[in-house]
Amino acid sequence: MNAFRQPNFLALALRRGNFLLGGVLAGLVALLALVSLAWTPHSAYELDIANKLNPPSPTHWLGTDHFGRDVASMIMVGARNSLLVGFVAVGTGLAVGVFLGLWASARRGWVEELIMRFSDFAFAFPAILSAIMITAILGPGAVNSILAIGIFNVPVFARVTRGSANAIWAREFVLAARAAGKGHARITLEHVLPNILGVVVVQATIFFAIAILAEAALSYLGLGTQPPHPSWGRMLNEAQTFLHLSPHLVLFPGLAVVISVLGFNMLGDGLRDLLDPRLSRTRLAGYPR
C-alpha cells in the first residue's frame, strides 16, 4: 500500500518492462472489448452460409466460421464476456477471501479453525465441479460460470491471505505494535495488510488469468456463455470439428485467450516487483557464492 502512495509510483511502474508489456496486452484486450460495444468489422451474430470457413482475407481479417460469421468480430465480442466473468468472479473471491483470511489470522483459535475448515471444504469443489452441479440444477450460462469460478476463488484467497498474514503476525514489529496497545483490527490494517498486499495482488492477477482460462474451459464444454453470444471457449469447441478443413479457426480464439492471460499475468508481475522490494533485492543479491 505504501508503494502505491509513492509520488513516483507511476514513473517507477513505467520503467518496468513486464509491467509495460502486460499493461499494453491487457489494455489491448480491454480496448477490443470496449470498442466491440460500439463497433465490430461485421456482425458477430449474422450467419452467411455462402461464405463459411473462409480463410483470412481483407474482407474477413481472421476468416469466417462454419456459419460464415466473422471470426474477428466474434473475438472482439468474446473479449467482453471473458473480462466480465473474470472481474466479477475474482472481485467476489478477493473481497470475501481476503476478509476471511485476515480475520482468521487476527483472531486465531476457533475462528481460524472454522474459516480454514470452510476453506478446505470449499476446496473440494473446483470451479468445474461447481459448474457441473450448477448446470445440473440451473442449466448452463455465463452467470452460472461466474458463480462457479467465484465460489472457487474465495477459499484460494482466504488460504493465501491467512498464510501470508500469519507470517507477518509472527514478526517483531507486530509484537511491538501489540506492546504499544494497538488492537487486532488496527494491526491488521496498518501492518499486516500493507505487508501482504504484494502477495494478494500477485494472486489476484494470477486468478484473474485463471478466471479467463476457466471461463474459456467452461464455454468450451458448453457450460458457460451460451449461443448465440460468442465466447472464445465455444469458438474453439466448434473449430475443433473443422480441424482438418480450417485449422486457422483454432488459432485465433486460443491466441486471444493467451494474449489476455499473458497480459494480466505480466501486469501482476510488474506490480509485484514494485510492491515487494524484498523480491527485487533478491534479484540483485542472487545466489550466495
Partner: protein, 316 residues
Amino acid sequence: MSVFLAKRFAIFVATLLGASVVVFLALEILPGDPAYAILGADAEPSAYEALHRELGLDRPAVDRYLGWLGGILTGDFGVSYTYSVPVFELVVERLALTVPLAVLAMALTVVAAIGLGLHAATHHNKIGDWGVMAFSQLGIALPNFWFGILLILFFSVYLGWFSSGGFPGWGAGTWPALKSLLLPAIALATVQTAILARVMRSSVLETIREDYVRTARAKGLTRRATLWRHVLRNALIPVVTVMGLQFANLLAGTIVIENVFFLPGLGRLVFQAIANRDLVVVKDVVLILAAMVVVVNFIVDLAYAAIDPRLGARDA
C-alpha cells in the same frame, strides 16, 4: 505427531461428509423432484410415478441421504438411469483411465517443474533463468484444452504419429493405452509445470537468502551440498502446498482434456450424464471427484508435516 495425524484425519472425514451433504442437497433437494428433472416436466404420469418409486423419492430426505452414503461406503452407488447398469461398474471402468491420466500428468509436472525451477533459481538472471521464466509466462497463459487441440493438429493431423483421440483400453496392451494418454498428459502437464516451476524458482530464491544458507556456505559447505541439504527441503514447503492446490486444477483439467481427446474417463461420463439428465450418475461422480480432491489435500497436509516437523509439533 499422532495427535496431529488424528486431528487431520478427523478434519478429513468431516470434510468428506460435508462434501457429501452439499452434493446431496445440490443434486437431490435443490432441483425439486429429481424424477421430474430426469424425465422433464412433460413426462407421462405413469413413467413419473415409476421413476419416483425407483429412485426411492417417497422416503424422507434424511433416509435417502443415509441410504446413499451407506451405499457408497459399501460399493452400491445405485443404478444409472441411462445405461441401466450399476454406477459403481461405470465409475470403476472410467477410473481406469482418469487416474492413470492424472498420475501421468502429475508425475511429468513434478519432475519437470522441480528441475526447471531449481535450474532457474541457481542460474538467476542468466539465459537459463530467462528461458524458464519465458516458458513459465507462456505456459501459464495457455488454455490446456487449446494446447491439446494444437497437439492434435501437429502430431495427429500433420505428422500422423498419434491418433487424434479415443482410448483402446488397457486390454489392447500397455503401450497402445499409454500412447493414447501421452498427448493428453503432456497437454495437462505443460500448463501445470509452468505454474509449479515458477513457484519452485521463487521459493528457492527466497530460501537462498536465509541466514542459515549463508552460514552453511561460510562454514565451507559446497554450493551443491548447501542446495541439496538446506535449500531444497525448505524450498519444497510452499511447492508442496501449491501442488495440493494444483491437484484440483489438474482434476478440472482432466475433465476438460478427456472431452478434447474423446477419452472415456470420469469427465466424459459426467458430461454425458448431464446431457442425459442422469442425476444418479452426476451425483456419484461429482462426489467421487470432490473426494479425490479432499484425499489429495489430506495427503498434502501429511507431506507438509513430514517436510516441516515444526508444523506437526505446533498442532500437537
